[in-house]
Amino acid sequence: MTQVTMTVNGKAASGDVPGETLLSDFLREHLRLTGTHVGCDTSQCGACVVLVDGKAVKSCTALAASLDGAEVTTVEGLANGELHPMQVAFNDNHGLQCGFCTPGMIISGIDMVNRYKAEGRELTEEAIRHELEGNICRCTGYHNIVRSIKDAAASM
């Protein structure tokens, strides 16, 4: 067992976790933050993406024990009285159908907008499509997801 303390969505969260506990399990089972989805066993789908110290990470492919002291943001931590601009854009642009991939899409969208802004690069439609390589959607065909992210980038 390893004692871990993280900041999750701005609040301290601690627990005694077995070595094999994945961050996704820690969030879903220990903290009951079930907005983070688990869609695969192969680290490929991106439904589980959360921000760890501001960077998009697959929470199914990180050990909770390794993240003592980390700052984690899940989809539940985005709305702050009002929805986050990325959430608004997914709503406005019909960027989801079943919604399973959406938490990961929204977090990955925020991550890419933040990185491109910090580097002063333009987040073109082509760039968004490349940046989404680690996020799989079975429903939408991606067009409205790309539109949502492009839209949010303008207002973030």
Binding site: G19, E20, V49, V57, A65, S66, G134
Partner: protein
């Protein structure tokens, strides 16, 4: 995933002790290969020893014409590093093309080369550049490090601490991505260095990454994409699988070699 004991030592000595004290320890870096493998029960270590808490393991520094990259530097860190960019922009570009953004935020250069996946990108970059792999025990030339599919010259428990790369005159990398996994179906790294031309091929060989003597000779004579046309390309020793036949891979090696030379300028 089976039960596992987690360790995060703060020094190489403590890491060596943790590895030595366990039934069957595995070194953990970014976890982007080891954790999926453990989830699928293809690996079941009793202990994992996380090397990311060891001081200096993520440092990237330039001395003279050489850049030294800490083993736990992530793909994203290498891709965005001015130091790496100043010595070899092609290596930074290679790192920027590994997997997807979330994988690049966690996966490390040390983990990638220790794993030596036959379709991984870094093995081509480091073999092509004639890099030196530094461990807690010795320095190993890239030519001696990559010994076969998923195998390296590392001894049990030996820890890669850094990789160093000297500035090439020119270098370029091109990969044909497997559209599902993003790994290289074929990737070719070309470098023109003080010690001659080196060409390394990943994604294609049955024994993992390899140097291609025919391409090296052709490009040493004439550093241009056209020089690739005349090279005899055999499919012997190349992989055939559901993604591509050996003949198709042989063809792709030439196409990627041309693109790599064009990218190198």
């Amino acid at each position: 995933m089976y039960a596992v004991n987690y360790h995060k030592p703060a020094s190489i000595e403590d890491a060596v002790a943790a590895i030595g004290g366990a039934d069957e320890a595995k070194i953990l870096a970014g976890g982007q290969t080891l954790l999926p493998t453990m989830k699928q029960h293809l690996a079941a270590p009793s202990d994992v020893v996380d090397i990311r808490g060891i001081g200096g393991m993520t440092d990237i520094a330039v001395r003279g014409d050489t850049v030294t990259i800490g083993a736990a530097a992530t793909h994203a860190a290498v891709a965005g590093s001015n130091e790496v960019g100043s010595i070899c922009p092609a290596l930074a570009a290679l790192a920027a093309g590994i997997g997807d953004p979330a994988v690049r935020h966690m996966g490390t250069i040390g983990g990638s080369i220790a794993n030596n996946d036959p379709a991984a990108d870094y093995p081509a970059g480091l073999l092509g550049l004639g890099a030196t792999i530094v461990t807690n025990q010795r320095e190993i030339a890239a030519d001696d490090f990559f010994t076969g599919m998923f195998s390296t010259a590392l001894e049990d428990g030996e820890i890669i601490t850094a990789v160093s790369v000297s500035k090439p005159d020119r270098a370029g990398y091109a990969k044909f991505r497997n559209p599902a996994s993003r790994y290289a179906m074929v990737g070719v790294f070309v470098a023109k260095t003080g010690n001659g031309v080196r060409v390394a091929v990943t994604g294609a060989g049955e024994d993992g990454v390899f140097r291609h003597a025919g391409l090296e000779a052709a490009l040493a004579g004439n550093w241009s994409p056209d020089a690739v046309d005349a090279v005899e390309m055999s499919a012997d020793g190349l992989m055939s699988d559901i993604h591509a036949s050996a003949d198709y891979r042989a063809h792709l090696i030439k196409v990627m070699a041309k693109r790599a030379v064009a990218a190198a300028g």
